[in-house]
Symmetry: C2
Subunit: 205 residues, 2 copies
């Protein structure tokens, strides 16, 4: 397909596609003339992954390039690819992973749970900051309650990963995991709010 | 205390407190002079609840007034108050509850779960729209998976409500529930992302 069709099918403007080509985020098409190239479905798929990493996951162009390079190096190893994409994190300007300390409380929790997660995972900091905000408002979450929430998060993650098509191409599968992770978030929060209203009503009767 | 101290202790600007007094969101203080009044801890507590409803829950001033009126009418009934605050929803300009249809899929789900939730709960629409977005991206969530997520949300809600101090004043308790509902959200999403990274690593080994 021509670049115009790639644009139409992906919903990404031609100018953006050209920028990704220049930056090496997208492999070049097959040249058919001096100023013309043919693209195929592998370009479309790669473009969707790039959009998911940048638009959904919030990575910079250079961080996206790093993730794609790592994905390419492990293309056949399903869980490696999945881990690379799910663990993808913003890096600072020097290309170093942005430090994301969640604080001792979060380190202790993750150690206790036995979770294998990158020490730079941005979610560590989000967790630490949120607990700190609640504490400052006099709403401390007890360690026991935190373990309860973590156990439920573990079961949610199992449900998330169980839904991935085991026969899909590893890169497609990672893209699907990324989209579901981020896009499902409002639905999970909505379910919790509805469940709270129900549980409150149930306790009242 | 004077209005200046109420402002200092609540972090709410004096001008905003005066506006809430004019709108009847806050009961008047005890007049000590023609232009001076004394406020007490009940004002401070009420002010925190108003801030939570407006700032955290996103209600309009008039919707907040309605919720507070309903809370006052049921002040002694713990779960009534909790339900009123947790179920609080934006209303449209005519004072009618904003319609929040989640679509047939959401109605069916809630019916199947046996959840008692208001037909105007805004989370219904959020849930319906999110499922629709995922479907449009080719990432449909199966009904079975949705039931799984709902079951986990139910357990999360039980954990949420179990943490409330059963001896607290019902209005304090409702305020605490509201703060925890909203402020804990980023932490729950962060736990899910960390758990996904861990689960992906676990499946890889």
């Amino acid at each position: 397909m021509r670049i115009s069709e790639l644009s139409r099918r992906s919903g990404v403007p031609t100018a953006t596609i050209k920028y990704y080509l220049r930056e090496g985020l997208l492999p070049p098409g097959r040249a058919t003339a001096a100023t013309q190239a043919e693209y195929d479905d592998t370009h479309l798929r790669r473009l969707r992954l790039v959009r998911a990493l940048i638009g959904v996951r919030g990575l910079s162009v250079s961080a996206t390039k790093d993730v794609l390079g790592a994905v390419a190096a492990h293309a056949g190893e399903r869980h490696q690819v999945l881990g690379l994409v799910l663990g993808a994190r913003p890096v600072d300007e020097d290309g170093e992973p942005a430090p994301a300390p969640g604080g001792t409380e979060v380190d202790t929790l993750i150690g206790e749970l036995g979770w294998q997660v990158s020490e730079h995972a941005p979610s560590r900091a989000v967790l630490g900051e949120t607990l700190e905000t609640l504490r400052s408002l006099g709403e401390e979450i007890s360690h026991e309650a935190l373990l309860g929430y973590a156990a439920l998060a573990e079961r949610t993650a199992v449900l998330d990963l169980d839904q991935l098509d085991p026969h899909a191409d590893p890169v497609d599968q990672a893209e699907s995991a990324l989209l579901r992770t981020v896009l499902l978030e409002p639905a999970l929060l909505a379910l919790r709010r509805l469940a709270q209203e129900h549980e409150s009503a149930r306790r009242n009767t």
